[in-house]
């Protein structure tokens, strides 16, 4: 049990997918202007990431490995992830039109969210078991959501601040993201 908890904590904080591994920076910068959008994006990514790790684990262990065609891994993974995202989009559209409007163009973007593919590939690299893979995916998604919401909170305040013109907008956003990443290095002490 404590092993699972450590894994979850480790992936969410110490090896944070965004601020330590620098994966999934596109939605991190793109959807962090408003709390609603950030929350929706976090939830959608959590859903997709967990589902995708499960799907890719099964694909790897039940199809690619027996047939010895691991060199097609990226191709097969992308295909599966794209299908999972499509499925998510349909579910959200059916169940929550409001959320669908909020996520808008970002939902299809999860297909190309490198965090999703990255976590799936890392799982294979580290030869995780199914349960471990699932937790690894879920923990990464938690970490993604955490920094996403933290960063959005900062950016909402930043929108009210008087930033010198040369820095206003994305530049100050990157500066803040960098500072946030620095502070996340502090979690390395936990390991």
């Amino acid at each position: 049990m404590s092993e699972y908890l450590l894994l979850l904590l480790g992936t969410a904080l110490v090896n944070n997918v965004v601020l330590v591994k620098f994966l999934g920076l596109c939605p991190f910068m793109g959807v962090s202007k408003k709390m609603d959008g950030a929350l929706g994006m976090s939830m959608a990514t959590t859903f997709v990431l967990t589902l995708a790790t499960a799907a890719t684990w099964m694909l790897e262990h039940w199809l690619l490995m027996p047939l010895g065609i691991q060199y097609l891994r990226i191709l097969a993974f992308i295909l599966t992830i794209a299908a999972v995202v499509q499925f998510t989009e349909m579910v959200i559209r059916k169940t929550s039109p409001g959320l669908y409007q909020v996520l808008g163009i970002y939902l299809p973007l999860i297909t190309t969210n490198c965090a999703v593919l990255g976590i799936a590939l890392l799982n294979v690299q580290e030869k995780n078991s199914f349960m471990h893979s699932l937790l690894y995916g879920f923990g990464s998604a938690l970490g993604f959501s955490l920094v996403m919401l933290l960063f959005t909170g900062l950016r909402v305040r930043l929108a009210l601040a008087q930033v010198p013109p040369a820095f206003s907008g994305a530049p100050i956003g990157f500066v803040v993201a960098g500072l946030l990443a620095l502070s996340f290095m502090g979690f390395a002490g936990l390991a």
Partner: protein
């Protein structure tokens, strides 16, 4: 080896495609309730200034996301903000803010009482009869400009609404510091 790769990936693709096709059928959304809600927010005068035949067309385009929320000139900033809130997007309202609220005004000296303007007015804001000078009800005019187009003597013109004690308010302090 090569064969198994080709076959397995083809199969994978086919199965996922089939699953998505099935999901598309079962999770199909009947129409878009958003369109009706958006149409409610629009002025409903069907003036056509947005480039769509009527407010329903504009609402559909808005729901698809193919047009900006600032498309409605009579609605101005207020409607743009409502639409942006409904769609959950951030709207660049800077272009609309400059749009001074206007109103149709009839120059009585050159009005010939042809009745064309009040026939096209979508909100019945113009009153008049043949061979008589027409007048505009300020409260009902949406500044859609239809009357301006049809007037043969250019007697109808859109004019900025003059400020009154009730409508006047302090402008935003300039000096960017605060």
């Amino acid at each position: 080896m090569l064969l198994s790769a080709i076959v397995s990936l083809t199969l994978l693709g086919t199965i996922l495609g089939l699953l998505l096709g099935l999901a598309a059928r079962y999770l199909k959304v009947e129409g878009n309730p958003l369109v009706a809600e958006l149409e409610q927010l629009l002025p409903g005068s069907q003036c056509g200034q947005c480039g769509f035949p009527g407010c329903i067309g504009a609402a559909q385009a808005l729901a698809e996301g193919s047009v900006s929320v600032t498309l409605c000139p009579p609605g101005g900033r207020a409607v743009a903000q409502l639409l942006a809130a409904k769609l959950g997007i951030e709207a660049d309202l800077s272009g609309v803010a400059d749009n001074v609220p206007r109103i149709a005004e009839i120059k009585e000296e050159i009005c010939i009482g042809c009745t064309r303007c009040f026939k096209v007015c979508p909100t019945d804001a113009i009153m008049g009869a043949a061979q008589q000078i027409h007048v505009v009800f300020r409260e009902a005019c949406t500044a859609c400009g239809k009357c301006e187009e049809v007037c043969p003597t250019e007697s109808v013109k859109l004019q900025p609404i003059p400020a009154t004690l009730q409508s006047w308010y302090w402008n935003k302090p300039t000096g960017a510091l605060a």
